[in-house]
């Protein structure tokens, strides 16, 4: 495959190529133009000199190109040129089905994410309260941390204050906790069609770790007081518990086919009874209105 081309050697040595002849007039003209402009900021003498140079440059230039452009003949020197590649092997990227690796034919319904979120929310209470009992000797500590910091009403509370029971903070904490759990579950469910293969790994391990990392870096800016009181190890544990529970709940749900499994024409929204199969659960063909 290597191919040496010395095209130039195959020609006679005395070959000449016509190239435009070198000329000094462009530089004279350019320098004249600049001097003419420079005269405005220095003295008129410069402008006059510039004008003279411009005139000379123009005349010289015109004599170069009229009536015929001047050329000089450059002799061709033989130099061997190698056009070859050591990389002889050409590989073409084969387009197979695996190039749409995440081409989900089946996925979990969005509602399964919400179910998982609710289940995870309950499961998450256990490590949180355990943390309160072991570390702060009060189950209300994590509750107040969430409820109190969530609305940012306390400024310089001592751990003892946080450990006591407050009705309002409990209610706020429950509200925040349930809303967040359902929303995250919903987000999880919405993302599932994109990454449907390993819900437990994704939702249980990866997402909580990333989520904790993001919160860890942002919490100091968003709510510095809360950031001071959070024990990030336990926080991570409770997040993982949430995620694993949610993931297990989701993976137990029944998968539904995505629109990818439908014929193209049906995905376009066109009814074509003759071209596409009836759905397996549809029974004998019916009109769509009756469904």
């Amino acid at each position: 495959m290597a191919e040496t081309i010395d095209r130039e050697t195959e020609h006679a040595q005395d070959r000449r190529i016509q190239l435009p002849a070198p000329t000094a007039w462009p530089i004279v003209l350019a320098f004249g133009c600049t001097l003419a402009a420079a005269g405005l900021v220095t003295s008129a003498g410069f402008s006059i000199l510039g004008g003279v140079l411009m005139f000379a440059g123009c005349v010289g230039w015109i004599r170069q190109v009229l009536p015929h452009e001047q050329h000089e003949a450059v002799p061709v020197t033989a130099r061997a040129v190698t056009i070859a590649s050591r990389r002889a092997l050409v590989e073409r990227i084969r387009l197979g089905p695996e190039h749409r690796a995440h081409f989900p034919v089946e996925t979990y319904p969005v509602t399964s994410g919400i179910k998982g979120g609710i289940a995870g929310g309950f499961a998450m209470i256990v490590p949180a309260l355990t943390y309160g009992l072991i570390k702060q000797h009060s189950i209300w500590y994590p509750v107040n941390l969430l409820g109190g910091a969530g609305v940012a009403v306390w400024t310089n509370s001592t751990p003892a204050q946080i450990a006591t029971f407050h009705w309002t903070w409990l209610l706020i904490a429950i509200l925040i906790h349930s809303v967040t759990c359902v929303l995250i579950g919903l987000l999880y469910g919405a993302m599932l069609p994109m990454l449907p293969r390993h819900p437990v790994v994704l939702g249980g391990i990866l997402a909580p770790v990333l989520w904790t990392g993001i919160l860890h870096s942002f919490m100091g800016v968003i709510n510095p007081i809360l950031a001071d009181h959070i024990d990030w190890g336990w926080f991570l544990v409770s997040q993982v518990v949430y995620g694993v529970t949610a993931g297990i709940v989701v993976s137990r749900q029944e998968r539904i086919p995505t629109s990818q499994s439908l014929p193209f024409i049906e995905r376009l929204g066109i009814e074509a009874p003759g071209l596409m199969d009836s759905r397996p659960d549809a029974g004998p063909p019916r009109n769509k209105e009756e469904r």
Binding site: M1, E3, I5, R7, E8, H11, R15, I17, L19, P20, A21, P22, T23, A24, W25, P26, I27, L29, A30, F31, C33, T34, A37, A38, L40, V41, T42, W61, Q64, V65, V74, V76, T77, R79, V81, T82, I83, A84, S85, R86, R87, A88, V90, I93
Partner: protein, 562 residues
């Protein structure tokens, strides 16, 4: 020695012979109309001014390294940041793209020279003498005292500061006149590039087979035609104002300084694209070669380039949200600015798709291009942020803006230019640049760049305005400014390594051969450095990668291209 002390008339004096040879050599460079020599002149000129403007930037950073510093006088500080901006945009950016374009466009399309070789020489010497004229301002006017009358009006030169009553000396005149001169040089180069690409292509080089770099140079030149000229027109108005007593931007006689702002940014915004588009072209040449894959989505790349050029002419007033335009005006310019994201997004995805699945070699050019991809994305994102009018109202004229456009011009443009140096230096000189020094250059510059310009975003958000001479210690900017200056120092070291690499590799670099990177465009089919006539025989191409076809006769591209 005896020869020199007792010269005998008519004798063959060795020294004089050498002098004569030197003179001959110099003469050949001055009178040349060869696109390769002119390209080299352009690039050397740009590198020289890169060092000059870099020195100015370092002086600015030394001045700002600690609060209440007096390293420079306030007047000199104004002159330095004006000259830094003007030099980097006009003397470095514009000249280096047209230098690289000058060298490569004829080689890439299989031509022997540019369409108008004499105009080419004229354009270069006009740009070059214009630049010298601009720097003459440091010693002209009132002499070296206080560094003469160098422009100190910022590089965007807002009226009415530039009017006679407010800037009595010749500072503004130097700025306007030298840029008018250079503007005509640039115009000539742009015309030449377009004519070359359209009229000088070798057989088979249809428009849709041109290398992307050539396409991008064409788009850039087209954009130059309609952006440099408004600046020239506005500067002519300014000169008429200052010399003939006219009132274009004279607020006292009813003239509107805001008209200057519009005229300047009609030039100023597309100018950024004039600089960045050739950088895209460089990336589009380097990334495929070092990924061992053809460029992904060639027609989309061409369309996106043309699209960027079109959209870029409709976005200028996003530099002017704070002057108080109508809501309709604000909305229009916000939306048009968002539009830029679409074609640039296409380009970024196409580059990534080119790399995907390829056999990537991280040689120095590829390193610079990879960093470019990431940094250009960041620059685009902060650009979108600044393109949102309310956000812009908060951060206009802060260091956040400086950080954004240095991400574009340093992080994207300059990185690609460095990639181009490492990639095409073997072609120009016949010798490879040292890869080891190149890696040092890359990593130091990369670290310094991020230290400087990432930090600038934060100091900008903390409220530090641009162009300030100094600041008090209690503003909370001191530490950040210290690190910004340290980053600048690291970048300066990296650039010095680069300059040393250029010189050393020229003297004893590795022999390159004609095709060191195993590349595919026509310039690699001629010896390095190419002979004066480029191609002994006119090449004939049948695909976008003519050398691929020759290297892989069993599997040529033209079998697959449409």
């Amino acid at each position: 020695m005896a020869d020199r002390t007792l010269p005998i008339p008519g004798s063959l004096d060795a020294t004089r012979l050498r002098d004569a040879a030197l003179l001959e050599w110099l003469h050949s460079w001055v009178v040349t109309v060869d696109h390769k020599k002119l390209g080299i002149l352009y690039v050397l000129y740009a590198v020289f001014f890169l060092l000059v403007a870099g020195t100015e930037a370092m002086c600015i950073r030394i001045q700002l390294v600690v609060p209440n510093n007096h390293f420079l006088s306030p007047e000199l500080f104004n002159e330095f940041f004006t000259m830094h901006g003007t030099t980097m945009v006009f003397l470095v950016g514009m000249t280096i793209i047209f230098g690289i374009g000058n060298y490569l466009v004829p080689l890439m399309i299989g031509a022997r020279d540019m369409a108008f070789p004499r105009l080419n020489a004229f354009s270069f010497w006009l740009s070059a003498s214009g630049g010298l004229f601009l720097y003459f301002s440091f010693i002209g006017g009132f002499g070296l005292y206080g560094m003469g009358s160098a422009p100190d009006i910022t590089w965007w030169a807002y009226a009415p500061l530039t009017e006679k009553p407010f800037t009595p000396g010749h500072n503004t005149d130097y700025w306007a006149l030298s840029l008018i001169v250079m503007g005509f040089g640039t115009l000539g180069a742009a015309i030449n590039t377009i004519a070359t690409a359209f009229s000088m292509r070798c057989k088979g080089m249809t428009l849709m087979r041109m290398p992307l770099f050539v396409w991008l140079m064409v788009v850039t030149s087209g954009l130059t035609l309609i952006t440099i000229t408004p600046l020239t027109a506005a500067q002519i108005m300014l000169v008429i104002d200052r010399y003939l007593g006219a009132h274009f931007f004279d607020a006292q006689a009813g003239g509107a300084p805001i008209v200057w702002m519009h005229f300047f940014w009609i030039f100023g915004h597309p100018e950024v694209y004039v600089l960045i588009l050739p950088a895209f072209g460089i990336a589009s040449e380097v990334i495929p070669v070092f990924s061992r894959k053809a460029i992904f989505g060639y027609p989309a790349m061409v369309a996106a380039s043309v699209g960027i050029a079109f959209v870029s002419t409709t976005v200028w007033a996003h530099h002017m949200f704070t002057v108080g335009m109508t809501s309709v005006g604000n909305t229009f310019f916000v939306l048009s600015t968002m539009m830029v994201g679409i074609p640039t997004g296409i380009k970024i995805f196409n580059w990534i798709a080119t790399m995907w699945g390829g056999k990537i070699r991280f040689a120095t050019p590829m390193l610079f291009c990879t960093a470019f991809l990431f940094q250009f994305l960041c620059a685009g994102l902060t650009g979108i942020m600044l393109g949102v009018a309310p956000w812009n109202w908060q951060l206009h004229n802060s260091y956040f803006v400086i950080a954004h456009f240095h991400y574009t011009l340093t992080g994207s443009f300059l990185f690609c230019i460095f990639a181009a140096f490492y990639y095409w230096y073997p072609k120009v000189t016949g010798r490879m640049l040292s890869e080891k020094l190149g890696k040092w250059h890359f990593w130091l510059f990369f670290i310094g760049f991020h230290l400087t310009f990432d930090t600038m975003h934060f100091v900008g958000m903390l409220g530090m305005p641009r162009s300030i001479y100094t600041y008090e210690a209690d503003r909370g900017w001191s530490t950040l400014n210290f690190w910004i200056s340290m980053g600048g120092l690291i970048q300066a070291i990296a650039v010095l390594i680069f300059a040393w690499n250029l010189i050393r590799s020229y003297l004893d670099g590795k022999e390159a051969g004609n095709d060191p990177w195993d590349a595919w465009t026509l310039e690699w089919s001629v010896p390095s450095p190419p002979p004066a006539y480029n191609f002994a025989d006119d090449p004939v191409v049948r695909s976008r990668r003519p050398l691929w076809d020759l290297k892989h006769p069993d599997d040529p591209d033209w079998k697959y291209e449409q």
